[in-house]
């Protein structure tokens, strides 16, 4: 129904259309979406990236729930990045009730988040994105020619998932995170067994950087406004200020004063814009561009060894290199935290409910994820606002699509279609999150 509606809205006079290419269900993305491209002769007229994933309306049904239930509910927005959803909501609640967690709790949070980055990036790099560069439909086909690489990629992914399971109980929708900390802070001995798999994962991540940097990348660049978290002492994962490559530097609480969400007709996701300048890009490229100097020596050395520079962040096809570098970082960071971990202090910081407003923002694997809640004196949710990374990137995705379609308009239809699909997959779009999904139609007039 929803699709039919879009089509009628976007409909061209069929008598003018000489040919139509459509991909109704974009593959290898998380969720349901479509691309629509309108061609007029040799010119690209308009481009739309559509999200037709049915709306689930989390913000509406969170109202009237107890604030302690929220992390278990928001994780259900996305099975690929549940930790980001849990952590953004938890940090917002902690701001609202006025508590700060202990350094140990902070470390364990960063540790489980490293697990999510490894698991999510490995999924994207090996199973969703690499097949595009190597000309396969999927990782299973790719495994016939590149068995060693696919198996290594699965090991890497498993190391991330196992870390999440060890700390959170399970890899999808972990159960151990709560407002104030953890239900049960793991014993250091219970985590030791993670060290060896993570060291192997680190080696695989380094090999991954070398493997993917040899791919052939389309010659494309765009001068995005990059938006990411930034933290004085560390590469941003779970906290920091929101900064941009054009001078934005705000606290998380100021988010809504600087960003707008616009409801566009062709999509179930809301488009985000910077009030002052419009579209922007969040995600691995933005994080790397804005925080390169916070990466460890090993990661910076790995980047240099494959001639990857900050400027390469402007080529979205090279995001696969950035994800690989971030996996290397996340493995190293996880090993560092594990080596230093002593389960000191309480599992959670106690608090009493009080009325208040709280904001939380974390770096989900796909970019910044902002949450805002208003709670009453009994700790019940009065208002909820959730702005996922894919809806923030939707405008940048459309810009890339337009530019890529213009640049490659001379290609055959199947080639152009593939290039456009790849353009969307560069973003690792998580459409389940952004619904508030995808389909490719190229229409020639």
């Amino acid at each position: 129904m929803a699709e039919r509606k879009y089509e009628s809205q976007n409909s061209l006079d069929p008598s003018n259309a000489s040919e139509t290419i459509r991909v109704d269900y974009l593959a290898r993305v998380e969720g349901e979406g479509a691309i629509y491209i309108k061609k007029r002769g040799a010119e690209v007229d308009t481009v739309q990236f559509k999200i037709f994933e049915p709306p689930r309306m989390f913000e509406a049904f969170l109202r009237g729930r107890e604030h302690t239930e929220v992390p278990d509910i928001t994780s259900r927005i996305c099975g690929i990045c549940p930790i980001a959803y849990q952590m953004s909501s938890i940090q917002a609640m902690e701001q609202a009730v006025g508590i700060q967690v202990t350094p140990t709790i902070r470390d364990v949070r960063r540790l489980i988040f490293c697990g999510e980055w490894i698991e999510s990036h490995a999924l994207h790099v090996y199973m969703l994105h690499a097949p595009d560069f190597l000309g396969y439909d999927d990782a299973i086909q790719m495994a016939k020619r590149f068995p060693k690489h696919v198996v290594s990629g699965l090991h890497l992914k498993k190391a991330g998932n196992d870390l999440m399971t060890a700390l959170g109980g399970r890899e999808i929708h972990p159960i151990n995170l709560r407002v104030g900390g953890f239900y049960h802070l793991p014993e250091p001995n219970a985590l030791r067994h993670m060290l060896d798999p993570l060291k192997r994962a680190r080696d695989i991540a380094l090999e991954t950087v070398r493997f993917v940097s040899k791919f052939e990348f389309p010659d494309y660049a765009y001068d995005y406004e990059f938006v990411a978290l930034s933290h004085p002492d560390e590469y941003p994962i779970h906290e920091g200020r929101i900064v941009s490559s054009r001078g934005l530097d705000i606290s998380v609480s100021e988010y809504l004063a600087h960003f707008d969400e616009i409801h566009v007709e062709h999509t179930h996701a809301l488009h985000s814009v910077l009030k002052s300048r419009g579209e922007y890009l969040t995600g691995p490229q933005a994080r790397y561009y804005l925080n390169e100097n916070k990466l460890s020596h090993t990661v910076q050395e790995a980047a240099r060894s494959v001639n990857f520079t900050r400027e390469d962040c402007k080529n979205p096809f090279k995001s696969i290199i950035v994800r690989s570098l971030e996996m290397l970082y996340a493995c190293e960071e996880a090993i560092r935290i594990l080596n230093e971990y002593e389960a000191a202090g309480p599992s959670w910081v106690p608090y009493g409910p009080r009325a208040g407003v709280g904001h939380g923002c974390t770096e989900a694997p796909r970019g910044i994820l902002y949450h805002r809640y208003e709670i009453d004196s009994a700790g019940m949710i009065r208002e909820a606002r959730i702005i996922p990374p894919t809806s923030q990137n939707q405008k940048a995705i459309e810009t890339d699509l337009l530019n890529v379609a213009r640049k490659y308009i001379h290609l055959s239809k199947p080639q152009l279609q593939h290039r456009c699909e790849q353009t969307v997959r560069n973003y690792d779009p998580c459409i389940s999150c952004a619904t508030h999904f995808l389909k490719l139609e190229i229409e020639n007039e």
Binding site: M1, A2, E3, Y25, L26, A27, R28, V29, E30, G31, P54, P55, R56, M57, F58, E59, A60, F61, R63, R65, E69, D72, R76, C78, G79, I80, P82, L123, M127, L128, P131, D137, D138, I140, Q141, A143, V150, V151, L154, H155, K158, N161, G169, R170, E171, I172, H173, I175, N176, R178, Y183, H184, E261, I262, H263, E265, L270, S347, E421, S432
Partner: protein, 274 residues
Amino acid sequence: MAATQRKKPKLAVWKFASCDGCQLSVLDCEDELLPISELIEIANFAEASSRVIGGPYDLSLVEGSITTAHDAARIQQVRAQSKFLVTIGACATGGGIQALRNYTLVDDYVRYVYAHPEYIRTLATSTPISQHVKVDFELQGCPINKNQLVEVISAFMIGRRPNVAPYSECIDCKIKGNVCVMVAHGTPCLGPITHAGCGALCPSFNRGCYGCYGPKETPNSGSIGRWFIKEMNRDKPFVMRSIRSFYSGTEFIKTASSEFESADSEISEKSSHG
């Protein structure tokens, strides 16, 4: 292809309203995925592959609930192409957390989330797949347990019933040797009425079960709700919220939670034998 090689059965994975977590469980079978793909043809799985081999399919795994008229029509097509249809997870089996809309006016929800409610087409309810088509097996959980998923696929391959226990989480908790969080700590726990399958995770982490595997066989929700109220000093809205979560789209949860709907602190003994 050797002529003697048996034709591999064809697997399809379908998505409706969901978080993608249950189909991700297929890809999370890191050790089993490549061996499974040797035995079964992954013919249609959009999240993992651009390749689509047409139906009919021997086994369809369905994730997600039905929330749009388009999806209500699409599930009929999926059923028509599928020999065995297995729902995976709480959304497909119980309507998912998004079925909380079934207890209110969906228009209010749409107006809260979207600036232009007129752009949104959605049904007033989120319903499990079984309310639309015949389902051959329902795998519970939010998310499903990947070991149980491998069991379901293995059972399908050799044509037997999957060995998935329908008893309560309490049984697994006892087998694990956990201290009962309800008895020992006074923490409300939905374990006694919740379907086993997660491995008694929450009590193992020192918290009460919040019911993400849905109702077990023959659950007595009225009794546990009254326990929460009388023995653990919780109120009716707490019980209602606890019961009304990831399986909200089922008739069972609808009936079970309505007993605790009014905000009175008094519990009617009359309704206690439901």
